[in-house]
Amino acid sequence: MKTYLPSRFMVERDKDRCIRCQVCVNQCSFDAHYYDCDDDTIRAREDNCVGCHRCVSFCPTNALNVRQNPLEYKSNFNWTSQAIEDITKQAETGGVLLTGMGNDKDYRIYWDHLVLNASQVTNPSIDPLREPMELATYLGRKPNEVEVDSDGKLKTKLAPQVRIEIPVMFSAMSYGAVSLNVHKSLARAATQMGTMWNTGEGGLHPDLYQYGQNTTVQTASGRFGVHAGYLSAGRIVEIKIGQGAKPGIGGHLPGEKVSAEVSRTRMIPEGTDALSPAPHHDIYSIEDLAQLVYAMKEATNYTKPISVKIAAVHNAAAIASGMVRAGADIVVLDGLRGSTGAAPKVIRDNVGIPIELALAAVDTRLRQEGIRNQASIVVAGGIRNSGDVAKAIALGADAVYIATSALIALGCHVCQQCHTGKCAWGLCTTDLALTKRINPDIGARRLSNLLRSWSHELKDILGAMGLNALESLRGNRLHLRGIGLTDKELEILGVKMAGS
């Protein structure tokens, strides 16, 4: 069938600069460049271009530019180019539209409507370069009180806690969705920086067991690679109920991504689809969640915090309250912007709620019920910089998860083609020719650098507020003010309007 879809990008090649070295041909995993030997020239198949800019970055003579195709449909607020092209694609395939990365629609980004406070005159700001600044965070269930015996000796034994040096952890990305070199980069960076990385639901490669102290092992509905050794290898066990990019939807890792190594780690045969059912079939109800949480606690003999991750949905506050009562030591909320290796576009674009609102609602609810101490809150989904992190902490989060930011640190240009398995940056693929584009040593360095810069910036932010410990910012919504928000939005966020 002839496709009616226009090319989305234009490849501009400066003939004067091009030396026909074919770096672009070799770098492009989507076959957008080819060498025409008849004319001794490089040409482009623009239909194939996804706009990942791998060729642009690697062209030694800066001969290339890739721009969005300026093709303009007749202007129409309802029938946008996206709407037209989605329908065209479906008419030509009859399939569910797949996409990668997080929601890219123009829903309000509340982070950008919140501003932070600083000390002026009445209390001093602190200079983080010379004075101590504490970012250390302990994740896990805290008791209501500390008990001492008559001799003043401590009686209270804390439930398992995990200390992280910076309140930023790497979010779940499974091996299979991303490459082993990405996992290696994440694991090493987390270990260097004293934070946690997360296996995702695809198991843990044998080479990575050595990073167990900084590993959160995840189990999702597919239970891939989940066995006693896996559960005990990690420091935190995370039960994934849902994901911000696709609440209520399971996962299909296509068979072609299940390579020999992936098969080994997921413990399924090579080449078969790894299907994660939409629900955990042992969780159809809140008391079932309690059952699985305790199954994990029993399986790890109560030595690790059990984390439960949900997508932020309408009833997130009530659900989170139930999760805490069901024994979750860490509650993870993944918002509307949460990313994915592959999800139906209609779900990614339309289901879930913004993380800022979910976080505020959950933190508020748990405090109203007097159970906020019983679990740590971690938020995920679209955290872009240390400012977002500080705002999340001030809204009530204990820590944040980043995934897209981490991938960008490794080279990702957010072209949203993760679901094709052809990632030219070697991230979201298991094709060995591509995965070797990530060198784990360099990857770990880039990631560590990112965390290091955010860590400095967080200290700057804290210092400016006159605080020298992150816990003094946690849930301290008085340090936030809203701009351009309605009364209802301010009420839900629990912050005042700037100027008040």
Binding site: Q90, L98, G222, D273, E298, A299
Partner: protein
Amino acid sequence: MIQTTENEITIDAAGVSFRDLNTKLREKVACGAEKIVLLNVCGQRYIGTDLNSPVAINIVGTPGNNLGSFMDGPQITVYGNAQDGSGNTMNDGQIIVHGHAGDITGLAARGGNIFVRDDVGYRAGIHMKEYEDKKPALVIGGTAQDFVGEYMAGGVLILLGLNLKQGEHHRANYIGTGMHGGIIYIRGTVEEYQLGKEVGVAELTEDDYRVLGEYVGDYADHFDCDAKQIMNSSFIKLYPRYLRPYGRLYAY
């Protein structure tokens, strides 16, 4: 608790919480117990989880949900019925139920064998998967309810229907729906509409009969019945038609 011999122990579980019971099991197994008899079990969950030795655990009573979940080696025998989630994500070992078992029996099991003398509830064998030498088996002497073998990604599931009366059929619907690995053997017949869209029906080959015969032999040993008589009836084989049942569902 009664220590009958050095390595054989009897524990009265009446009124003992699951946490205490499992702690006791861990202790005893760590001390080298080889056989543990649990009396008066009534609803305690997770029995056998977090144990990774081939200890024999004989349960008298009704164990609670998630019996042997994440288990890696123990040999559990239940003298009574089992509830939901037996063998959940089990890696290795054996569960033998002298009675029926509830929903999601064998959920996501990757290894080990489960023998249920009578019936199982909904979604038995859901998402069982195999890997290298690990090949879980779920042998059901009676019949199953809907969605048996759903999402099955590996292993062997056998439905014997021994308690069906003359002229009575398996009632399960959506058998093997979403199946993309493994094999289901069914004694007796099922109608086309009872099958998931992703399964095909075939006659058994000699190899199939050999595999089936071994499991039926084990079943007959466990429950003291005649394997020859069981084998002397008609079987069908269900297999996944596609390794990638949803490969064509998406537009890229």
